[in-house]
């Protein structure tokens, strides 16, 4: 893929809340996504207990933690697939306050939709549309949601399919693709919406081990070419390769965060240490 060189902003002091101790990595820009005071209850189950998270332009953030720690819920709250109980989400200047009491109201739904257009989401089980070919999967939302002319949408789709290495599969149907290929098509489909950020929800958990690599490689290329992303993952090796910053969650709060090497090699909190020890032992 053609990767443009990352911009160099020089050495800057890290602002509070950025997740970096002293200085920001040079390629990273301004805050583009901000989760503020996110609380989420499922019935009586208090899943998120006040999460604050900022993500900056061109930053790759990996969310790690045990299953049940709330990382997937946080990711789903960011594009309102789950409406937070309390808190607000900001994506690219659009701020939306959680309002579960009027979550069915038309104006709130429309605001949620505007948020979602700004964020691309990747799922564990891909969720390609089985009744559409690869290229149709990719142009459906651009033509019908963004109202792009079909020719433009097809051109973009072909480009992004090239990026994920599946240009020759453009006319296949999803049932003819392997799991790894499906996830790569899903990535191309998300990129066609030209989102400000990509949200990955354990994108390789449903894959056979030999297919994980091809998906992670695409994601790593995207990260290194400056795609802003949040990735919920258990792939620590990948996190080390691709992450600018790693965020560790436990019991619905962010326990610790920092640059990838520091978090994975020299975590400070006991919770992080325990979690990583279990992972690295295997």
């Amino acid at each position: 893929m053609t990767s443009t060189p990352l911009p160099d902003h020089g050495i800057r002091p890290a602002p509070p809340g950025s997740g970096y101790d002293t200085e920001l990595p040079s390629h990273i820009g301004d805050v583009i996504v901000r989760a503020d005071g996110i609380e989420k209850y499922f019935g009586d189950n208090h899943v998120l207990r006040g999460v604050n998270l900022e993500v900056r332009q061109r930053e790759a953030v990996m969310l790690i933690g045990r299953s049940g720690s709330g990382k997937t819920t946080l990711l789903r709250c960011i594009n309102f697939l789950e409406e937070p109980t309390v808190g607000s989400i900001e994506i690219d200047g659009l701020i939306l306050e959680a309002d579960p009491l009027r979550s069915r109201s038309r104006s709130h739904q429309e605001q949620i939709r505007q948020m979602r257009i700004r964020a691309g989401m990747l799922f564990q089980d891909f969720n390609l549309f089985p009744h559409m070919s690869v290229i149709q999967n990719c142009i459906e939302a651009p033509t019908r949601v963004l109202k792009q002319p079909k020719a433009t949408a097809v051109e973009h789709a072909d480009y992004f399919l090239e990026v994920v290495g599946l240009a020759e599969k453009r006319d296949e149907y999803p049932d003819r693709l392997s799991g790894g290929q499906k996830q790569r098509v899903a990535i191309a489909r998300a990129l066609c919406m030209e989102p400000k950020i990509l949200l990955f929800d354990e994108p390789t958990s449903a894959l056979d081990p030999e297919l994980i690599g091809e998906v992670l490689r695409v994601m790593e290329d995207l990260a290194h070419s400056g795609t802003t992303m949040i990735v919920v993952t258990h792939e620590m090796h990948f996190a080390r390769q691709a992450a600018d910053r790693v965020v560790f969650m436990e019991n619905g709060v962010v326990v610790e965060q920092g640059p990838a090497e520091q978090m994975l090699d020299a975590p400070r909190e006991d919770g992080t240490k325990r979690f990583l020890r279990r992972f690295l032992d295997r």
Partner: protein, 273 residues
Amino acid sequence: MTTGLGSEAAKIQPEILRRIGASQAAAHTRNRIVYVVVWGLLAIGFIGAMVLAGDVDPTFFIESGPVIVLQGAPITIFVCVVSIVLATILAIFGALGRLSTNSAINAVAGFYVSLIRGTPLLVQIFFIYFALPQAGIILDAIPAGIIALSLNYGAYMTEIFRAGIQAVPRGQAEAAQALGMPERLLFRRIVLPQAVRIVTPAIANDFIAMLKDSALISTIGVRETLFLGQRIGRTAFEPIAALLIVALVYWGLTILFSYFQEKLERRMARGDR
């Protein structure tokens, strides 16, 4: 030693495999022949017994059979095709109503399904043809029959479509939402096409059931298969023979459309499109 055994086995193997394959193919052919012969004997025996018991004049068969087939069957097929299309449209809206979060819409759909499923089709046909004129709505027999069949099957198919829509994986709607699709677009482009694929075998099944239920609209004078058979039978004093022809027409139509249904299902099973 092991290699010796292996090569010997390798020499025997193709021969054994060929013989297994041949015996399986022979058994399959044998089974088909037995099936067709027994089926055919039963059909001939059954029809023969009816002809003998009913003291049927064979010339009536030859003269009236084609008339009933050529004039009655097309009406039966026409009424059923139109009705299944209307019933499908009704069922999609019915299912949407049943799944609506709006309680009033929900109640309308629930009432419709309850009323139709709780009363006999024949009563519904009479109501539409005989009772509606009291309210100033006068319908010809064919439109009345089509409306009755559509309303009736629409109610049953509402439940089929509801199940079909619910069977589309939740992740499909989530993926569409995440792409910013508004609710209607999501339903029309993502959920409905997949639900239709899920319920197509059930709709085909209902169509075949409707072919026979449509005989009920002979009671309001639609000149379909049963109506024609009865009228021709009465005038020729051959009521049993006419009834036999009518039964054979419905049976033939069922066999014909079951064959199409089987082909359709096999095509759908091949791919997820």
